[in-house]
Structures are given as C-alpha cells and as structure tokens.
C-alpha cells in the first residue's frame, strides 16, 4: 500500500523533518546542524532520492544550517520553499545595519551578529538557480505524488509586514527587532484523508490564522501535530475560551511530536496540556532538564535559567500515513523515558 512517511529528527540543536512521498521522492522541512551525531549526515540521510523541495520554515539556524549542504551538493533538488517576502533586503539589512553601543560588550554583540549574518549568506547564496516558492496562506495547495500540501500560514500580509518592520527597526535606533519566528510556515500535509500539521516555530498569531484557513478549506482534523516552537508558551493560547492549535487536531487520535529545544522549551503548562490532549511523543525530554547545569552563574532570581540544549532521549520518530487513512508510529520506545512516564 502506498504510504506517506515522516521522519522526525532531533539532536539538541534543532529539528529536521524528512517527508517521503509515495513516489519515493522526499521533501525536507528544515534541517538542523547535527552536532551530537544523533542524526545521520544530512546528505547520507537523503541519499540519491529525488528532492521535491527544500523548505526553510523560517530563517533560524536551528532549522536551517543543514539545508545548506543539500542546496549546495545534492544536485536533484526541484524547488526551494521559504516564507521571506524580500530575501535580498532582509539579508542586506542584517549585514549592514546592526545596532550596537559603545560598551565593553560590543565585541560580543558583533560576534553573535556575524554568526547570524554568515548563516543567512551561506543559506540563501546556496539556492542559486533553483526555482523558489514563497509560502503563505494564499498559495494554492501543492500536489506532489498524490499528496496535497496546504499552506496554513503565515498570512501573506503578516509575512510582508514582518520584513518591513524588520527593515525599519534595523535602520532605526534603539528598537527591539521582531522575531523571525513570526515568519514560520505552517504546513498541512493531507494524504489518505488524514492530515499532518507541521507547525515549525509559529506563534499564537500564526495559529489564529491557520485555524481560519483550516476551517475555510474544510480540512480534516490533524492526526499528527509537530508541536510548534518546541512547546513554547508563546505558541499556545491557554486562556479559557481561546482557540489554539489543539483545535486543529483530532480529539480521538492525535499524535503530538515534540522537539524539545532548550531549558525553556517546552513550557511546563504547555507540556502538561500536550500530555492531556495528544498521545505525546518526545524527541527529547525538556522536562528532565537540559544538558549541563541549568543555572551556571547561580543567579538567584526566579525564572532565570541558562539557554541549554535539551537532553535527547529519542533521536528519531517515524510516522507513516497510509492511503486507506490508517497510520503507524515507530520509535516511541525510549526505555528511560517510559520508566519515568515522560514520553
């Protein structure tokens, strides 16, 4: 029976999703740097399979660094998907206009900004002649080998506004730059009457729009949810009566795939909600605490914690949707976590 397969990978530095279509070709939705070697090298993982698309859901290094070798070296990539309405201006401003201050930490600010700028330069310059597809919710669903891909977000206007705000603030003084998470693509991948939602790092506003698009197209409820933004509190509206991403999910059989990010992600309340509302599968266990001490500077202030990568308990989870509407999950047997009743 024909199948649509999702391989979810996590290696404490971000996330990678390989979507294998019924024709044997793949789509790559983000790829993180696999420093801990818990995921095979990205070129080995993809092998010689046809790559229908390489999708950067939003320009953050933990989602995009390992897309670079694919774009540069694979040779059989058909399209580059992204959500940035003006890549050239965005990169130019990130490079040439970075706010800094006369202070002893100036050098550190520059170092951080250099890393961010080099990531953007490496990534976008590797696209070369590949056809691009700008993703936003006005784009018609994309058909690949009998699979329909809906773009539930971002809203076109929101994406444009992000870049405009970013450019305006970058060239102004003393402003807080908007988070690139606002550009996050929300993909609804439909096959055999089932829907899988990949939520990248979309925030609450993005989900409000995705819910409208989902309803407007009369799409089925999702059986698979890639939990957005590593379970962050700013992605899930928990206030009573407010809609959130669980309203996209099947109440009976949704599977939540959680890529825990760091010492802040997942949020405790979000994690508890996920455990109640989905059969939760973790690619790492944020509840167990991150790698290394949580507070190396010993700052005695409630809420202060260092940004540490999460402990990885389960580097790969595979979900297969069949054309008859059934689905199968592999890779949930993590002895350590089962013993602790976490995953």
């Amino acid at each position: 029976m024909a199948k649509l397969r999702f391989d979810f990978f996590e290696s404490a530095n971000g996330e990678t999703i390989i979507v294998e279509f019924p024709d044997g070709g793949v789509g790559i939705v983000d790829a993180h740097p696999s420093a801990e070697k818990t995921r095979p090298q990205i070129l080995d993982l993809v092998g010689k399979r046809k790559v229908h698309f390489v999708c950067l859901t939003h320009p953050h290094a933990d989602h995009g660094v390992d897309l670079i070798p694919i774009l540069r070296n694979h040779g059989a990539v058909h399209e580059f998907w992204h959500t940035n309405s003006d890549i050239s201006s965005f990169v130019y401003h990130c490079l040439t206009e970075r706010p800094n201050y006369p202070s002893p930490v100036r050098e550190f600010v520059n170092r951080l900004a250099d890393g961010w700028a080099d990531f953007l330069l490496d990534l976008y310059s590797s696209v070369r002649e590949l056809p691009e597809r700008k993703l936003h919710s006005n784009v018609q669903p994309i058909e690949i080998a009998g699979v329909r891909i809906w773009i539930l977000g971002p809203e076109e206007q929101q994406a444009k506004q992000f870049v405009e705000t970013y450019l305006k603030r970058a060239s102004g003084v003393g402003k807080l730059l908007p988070s690139p998470n606002l550009l996050s693509a929300i993909l609804g991948i439909e096959y055999g009457g089932c829907l899988a939602v990949l939520g990248s790092d979309a925030l609450k506003a993005g989900w409000n729009h995705a819910l409208e698009v989902h309803k407007a197209h009369g799409l089925p409820r999702a059986v698979v949810l890639k939990v957005p933004h590593h379970g962050a509190a700013n992605a899930l509206a928990l206030e009573k009566g407010r809609k959130n991403y669980f309203d996209l999910c099947s109440k009976q059989r949704a599977v939540g795939i959680l890529f825990a990010g760091d010492s802040k992600h997942p949020n405790k309340k979000v994690f508890d909600e996920l455990r109640t509302k989905t059969l939760l599968l973790c690619l790492s266990n944020g509840q167990k605490g991150a790698q290394g001490p949580a507070n190396p500077l010993n700052i005695k202030m409630p809420g202060a914690r260092s940004v540490r990568r999460s402990y990885v308990c389960q580097p790969q989870i595979t979900v297969e949707l069949s054309s008859d509407g059934s689905f199968k999950v592999d890779g949930i047997h993590c002895e350590e976590c089962l013993a602790r009743s976490v995953c």
Partner: protein, 164 residues
C-alpha cells in the same frame, strides 16, 4: 568592697511592697481559661536602652556585563559575559524593562546585591543598569570580506536587488 545580702523574702511580699508601675495594662477578655487573670501589668524594663535602629546595608557581591538579544514575551534572552565568555540566559523581562533595557543589543550591567534590612534579615537582589540608552545606538557594520561580498552578490542575482 562589701556586698549586702538581704534576708530571704517571698516573691509575693516583694511584689506587695512595690507600687504598681505606670506600665501598660492589658485587660483580657473573660474566657474561662483566663478568668483568674483580671489584669496584667507590664513594667518597662529598668535601665534598658532602646535598641539601635539599624540602617539597611547593601553590599555588591558580583557584577556582570551583558546585553539583550531577543524578546521572548515574559522572558528576555540575554547574554552575560563571564570570564570573557558569553553565557546565554533567559531572564524575566520585567526588571530589565523597568530599568530601561528595551532595545536589541543594548548593553547593561547587573549587580548582585546583598541587602541587610533594618531587622537584620539578609536578602540577595539584582540591580540592572543600562550601560547605554537606546538612543545611543550606532550602526556597527559587518566587515564585508570578499567571500561575504560574493555571497551577497549571488543573493542579489538570484532574488533581486535589496531595498536600501
């Protein structure tokens, strides 16, 4: 030196011989368990000096430099510099915002302060001070090496010219 030792006297006799002091009188409600107590005299302590009022004392324990990276809602993502190395932290945004630390890359100093209150209680607190105002920002352009320039040109060729 001589010491005069008085003959032993019952406590009740001593109390009778002394006139009641002008101390505070506390009258109790007539609950059963205190019905025998009609009143209680509290005498001011003789020769006792009033306790010295202690001034709250502050001592700086540590000082870090840092800068704001990103707004994460209730938290800010910041970088502290410790022994010349950057350490990334999530911090509650409210104390930083109140101190006027609101802009990307804005540098600040944080003092870990030990405060001893008037009652002698010791607490540890944090005091954030911006090292520059948001309006002090200047543009610190990246060094456009040949490699960076050629990548940027490749991006312009592929995605069009940038709006400058």
């Amino acid at each position: 030196m001589s010491v005069e030792v008085l003959p032993y006297a019952r406590r009740e006799d001593i109390l009778k011989s002394e006139a009641p002091s002008p101390g505070t009188t506390i009258r109790y409600a007539s609950h059963d368990y205190v019905r025998d107590i009609e009143s209680l005299h509290v005498r001011p302590a003789r020769d006792a000096k009033p306790p010295k009022k202690r001034q709250p004392a502050e001592k700086i324990l540590r000082r870090f430099d840092g800068f704001l990276v990103e707004d994460e809602g209730e938290d800010y993502r910041v970088v502290f510099i410790e022994d010349g190395l950057p350490v990334e932290y999530y911090m509650p945004s409210s104390p930083l915002r109140k101190a006027g630390i609101t802009a990307s890359n804005q540098p600040f100093q944080v003092d870990e302060v030990e405060i001893e209150s008037a009652s002698g209680r010791v607490v540890v607190g944090y005091s954030f001070t911006p090292m520059a105002k948001p309006s002090d920002a200047f543009n610190d352009a990246i060094e456009l090496t040949h490699e960076r320039r050629s990548k940027l040109n490749a991006i312009f060729e592929r995605f069009g010219k940038a709006k400058v």
